[in-house]
Amino acid sequence: MDNELTALTTIFTEFYYWMTVVLMFLIHVGFCMYEVGASRYKHHQHTLMKNTLLIPLVTITWFFFGWWIYWAFPTGPGISASIMTESTGLILGGGFGANELANPTNALMAINLNDHIMGVFWAAFLLFSWTAASIVSGAVIERITTFAFGIMAIAIGSVFWTIDAAWGWHFDGWMVRELGYHDAYASGVIHAICGGFALGILAVLGPRIGKFSSSGEPRNIGPRNPWLVCVGLFLIYTGFWGFYAACNIPIFDLGPEYGMEGTTFFTATNIYVTPTTLSGITMNFLLSLAGGLLMGYWVSKGDPFWTYSGGLAGIITSSAGNDLYHPMQALLIAAVGTWCAYKLHYFVERRFKIDDAVGAVAVHGYAGVVGLVICGFVLWGYPSSGYDGYAAINPIGMIVGAVIMFGLLGFLPGWILAKILHSAGKLRIPRDVELAGLDYNIMEQARKDERAVASTNR
């Protein structure tokens, strides 16, 4: 940085991403509160620890290989040539090569006075990864082993979501180039994939004991503390502001980037380096939230859990196109997605006996898929990129994209991994432990301690 303007832009960008990380931390606080509130008393501590442990597990694996995958896999490999290397192989070198940017043994992956962005950008993506694993965590509470969940968290948080991000959430991704895939705030690349992954696990894991009657009728279990669930969801909304901000590049001159000679156009951009404004997406975020809340309240007849979840589902549905939608479009799209998510949740629960304890498959998976499909129609014909040779946004590309996100990179890996862990006897806790409660020993010891202390005090 040899002049004040460059320094200001660089350090503003560094601080901008740093703030997004802090805000996104609240998503995880919210998820922890939400899951503890949704679980029963006898499972509280294990539920909290399961969700907490994904933080270190995903963080270290994201450092080892998750970030590397994002920068190495935009071409597939083997599907479409990179605009940077003009090769369909893994991107391993060159100015934007994974080796230079994200190889954990490289000098850039540490404090480096010549680089102010890599670390905070790595961290912003890491917080997306935590979110990915946390979405799955809620669906499987009270019966998955901590070991199995740790494997699943690493798989979705540091492998499968980062592959889909390289494919469809990268300016050089093959899905953007070939399909015209557009997913500005991650309806598919975070939410649909994680919903699909959770559904794949649930299909093998099975329901909690007592969830279905002998005739197959579903019953409600909990939540133990609905108010903790609601505050948790409120915190997830709060963290979502950081999520939206982190999906943008805050200041960028598109003139030289697009090869427009003599043109200077400073703007914020989305992850695809196409222009948007933080101001506009703020309106769209709030109108999406409003549409989801209104529809969630209406469709659930005032149930607080589904009203709050509806707000989240609304944001998730509109997220794919919230960089371009009009606020009223965001409102109505959010309402449609929330209605679909709620109806599909109960349809799948009854028809396939799927016990999704917190509605994660519906709120993230179904709402994400609906959001992608609607985006394909509403943004039909818009350029997916400012660079030459990219397909325009279109319904077929977005539907194929939704299938890739929810099915190919979500449901299928979740189902296969669950099958492997199940066959090894490592997926589900023993029936007697589930009945007694995962925290039984801890609670028994606490009771003994309490009695011992009480007797001393007499």
Binding site: L254, Y258, M260, F265, P275, Y325, L332, L379, P383
Partner: protein
């Protein structure tokens, strides 16, 4: 209908159009759709709320009856 079909052409136009959302020019219709949604929601939830409360009122529960319904999950 896409408002932008090529970003380079859009940004190099003699006067860059700021509005980039779909269906520019139909803002009134979108706002009307939003108002209809809001009015529909208001009427629908008000009706549902009144029906639910009438049903509850007919059961004549006592002031402390709710205490037997607090779940201990």
């Amino acid at each position: 209908m896409a408002t932008v079909t090529n970003w380079v052409e859009h940004l190099t136009a003699s006067e860059v159009a700021g509005s980039v959302y779909p269906y520019v020019g139909t803002e009134l219709w979108w706002v009307l759709a939003g108002i209809i949604f809001w009015l529909w929601w208001t009427i629908s939830t008000a009706t549902g709320e009144a029906e639910e409360q009438q049903k509850l009122a007919r059961k004549k529960h006592g002031a402390n009856d709710y205490k037997s319904n607090i779940p201990e999950w």
